[in-house]
């Protein structure tokens, strides 16, 4: 318990200090509230707006998680296909690496047209594409960057390729997969919210933020951004927990 406290106390202290500095900065320099509201004002607005921003957050979270799941599942299947057929890998990987460095979020107006602006599928598709490439690239690396001695061991047992895949390559790929999935949680929340800036359902968090900002209601916009942050952190924590369940042998669990 005390060690737990010791571990999180510095971060919590820094957080509170940061808010205090922000508050003082706005007061001392007399910054206009519509440019940068004080944390205390945002907190008050946040509490008042809870009945609106929380359902909006949940609506957007559904898009983020849905898109994440679609992208991740397809990416894992694609990576497994490349492990099975190396020709697929040679063909697909350069495009994946190239696509991974393009601003996929720029597709949002197009998917809005495809599926309809209020259809969650339009946001999920953008999120899925954003999550797909890093997950696939990492998973392929995890499946292929296997120790030679482990492959020799399996060969000495005359193991079939499917057994090598199942008993060596897939377990070997899990740390790679999860590090991409963790990046993917942030990408998917960003993707969903930003895609909504291009238009979406009136219940959506991104639509709420862009509308409030257009009306100079910055405290409301900040309150919604807090909801977005909490969503991102919560989603990350869920994937982190899944990682620990899936890899009880992992280095990160060795300290205790």
């Amino acid at each position: 318990m005390t060690t737990w406290l010791g571990r999180y106390l510095p971060a919590a202290g820094l957080f509170v200090a940061g808010l205090a500095v922000w508050e003082a900065f706005v007061v001392v320099f007399d910054i206009q509230g519509f440019l940068l509201p004080r944390p205390s004002v945002i907190a008050g607005t946040f509490l008042r707006e809870l009945p609106v921003v929380v359902p909006a957050g949940l609506f957007t979270l559904r898009e983020a998680v849905g898109g994440f799941a679609m992208g991740a599942v397809l990416a894992v299947l694609a990576a497994l296909a490349t492990a099975r057929w190396s020709l697929v890998r040679e063909g697909i990987l350069p495009f994946a690496v190239a696509a991974n460095s393009t601003p996929i979020i720029a597709l949002a107006p197009i998917t809005n047209q495809w599926f309809g602006i209020t259809n969650p599928l339009s946001k999920m598709t953008v999120v899925a594409v954003m999550v797909f490439f890093p997950v696939m690239i990492n998973m392929v690396r995890g499946l292929t960057e296997v120790k030679t001695s482990e492959l020799e061991l399996m060969r000495s047992y005359a193991a079939r390729p499917l057994e090598v895949l199942w008993k060596v390559r897939i377990p070997n790929s899990l740390p790679f997969l999860f590090s991409a999935l963790k990046v993917g949680t942030a990408l998917s929340v960003i993707g969903a919210i930003v895609a909504e800036y291009f238009g979406g359902s009136r219940q959506a968090l991104g639509v709420y933020i862009s509308q409030q900002a257009a009306l100079f209601h910055f405290a409301e916009a900040w309150a919604a951004i807090i909801v977005g942050s909490v969503m991102g952190i919560g989603f990350y924590a869920v994937v982190l927990a899944a990682e620990r369940l899936a890899m009880p042998w992992h280095v990160s669990l060795r300290s205790g």
């Binding site: 001695s149 020799e152 060969r155 000495s156 047992y157 005359a158 008993k167 890899m247 042998w249």
Partner: protein, 261 residues
């Protein structure tokens, strides 16, 4: 049966043939290993010991010549699981607990779960690691990991063990303990063992025969029969004959040890 466990006939091994980085690793290797033999391969590093072991295990194919294991081509013997390999690094799968690492070959060979669990426990007891079945490999010392690797190799009862400097990464004390343990296992199971080492005392202490190799291209320069009494014990290392044999191996190596990279 009078037949050899391993029979190597006129083997040459050239890596990257025709390329700028062509290496002739082995040249004109002939070697017969009888069932129950404990043969050590010794020679300066880079002389092709590991390559020779991999050829016996069909992890490589010779450029020319033939390798026969247990009366059949090496490739057939591998498919029949006639041998087990032990590497310098224990090569345990880090995501499997110790017991499941020992079960790995049995799993691949299709033994049912209860039988293989029982067999793996028996093997862990044999290497005196019964209490560590549910640990992960990283929780074990290097010596313990290597004993798990030996238990895993013995689990499916192969006729032949191929060991590539299995104790090379261990400290002297652990090394001598494991040598005794290997002696005990060899005496009890009657396996044929091909053992690669850098260490002259280790080769002499363990073997029935020591094969001395020369560097690039690797050749066999001498084969020395080790006529020390068995079972070998801690006293063996004090035996005057032990020292004579050490000298004999050292002399054979002296002629060849021109470069040690």
């Amino acid at each position: 049966m009078a037949e050899s466990m391993v029979s190597i006939d006129g083997v040459h091994m050239v890596f990257n043939q025709g390329g700028a980085d062509e290496v002739t690793a082995l040249s004109g290797i002939d070697l017969e290993i009888a069932p129950g033999d404990f043969v050590s391969l010794i020679g300066p590093s880079g002389c092709g010991k590991s390559t020779l072991l991999r050829l016996i295990g069909d992890l490589l194919s010779p450029t020319s010549g033939t390798v026969t294991v247990n009366g059949k081509p090496a490739s057939r013997a591998r498919l029949d699981r006639d041998y087990a390999m032990v590497f310098q690094q224990a090569t345990l799968l880090e995501w499997r607990k110790v017991i499941r690492n020992v079960e790995l070959p049995l799993e691949i060979m299709g033994m049912d779960p209860r039988a293989r669990r029982a067999k793996a426990r028996e093997m862990l007891d044999l290497v005196e690691l019964g209490g560590f079945a549910d640990h992960y490999p990283w929780q074990l010392s290097g010596g313990m990991q290597q004993r798990v690797a030996i238990a895993r190799a013995l689990s499916f009862d192969p006729a032949l063990l191929l060991m590539d400097e299995p104790f090379g990464a261990l400290d002297e004390m652990t090394r001598e303990r494991l040598q005794m343990e290997l002696m005990r296992i060899w005496q009890r199971t009657g396996k044929t063992i091909v053992f690669v080492t850098h260490s002259i005392p280790e080769a002499v202490f363990l073997s029935t025969r020591v094969v001395v190799m020369s560097p690039r291209p690797g050749r066999i320069v001498e084969t020395i029969d080790i006529d020390l009494p068995r079972p070998r014990t801690f006293d063996t290392r004090e035996d005057p004959r032990f020292f004579e044999l050490l000298t004999q191996v050292r002399e054979a190596l002296r002629g060849v040890e021109v470069e040690v990279p």
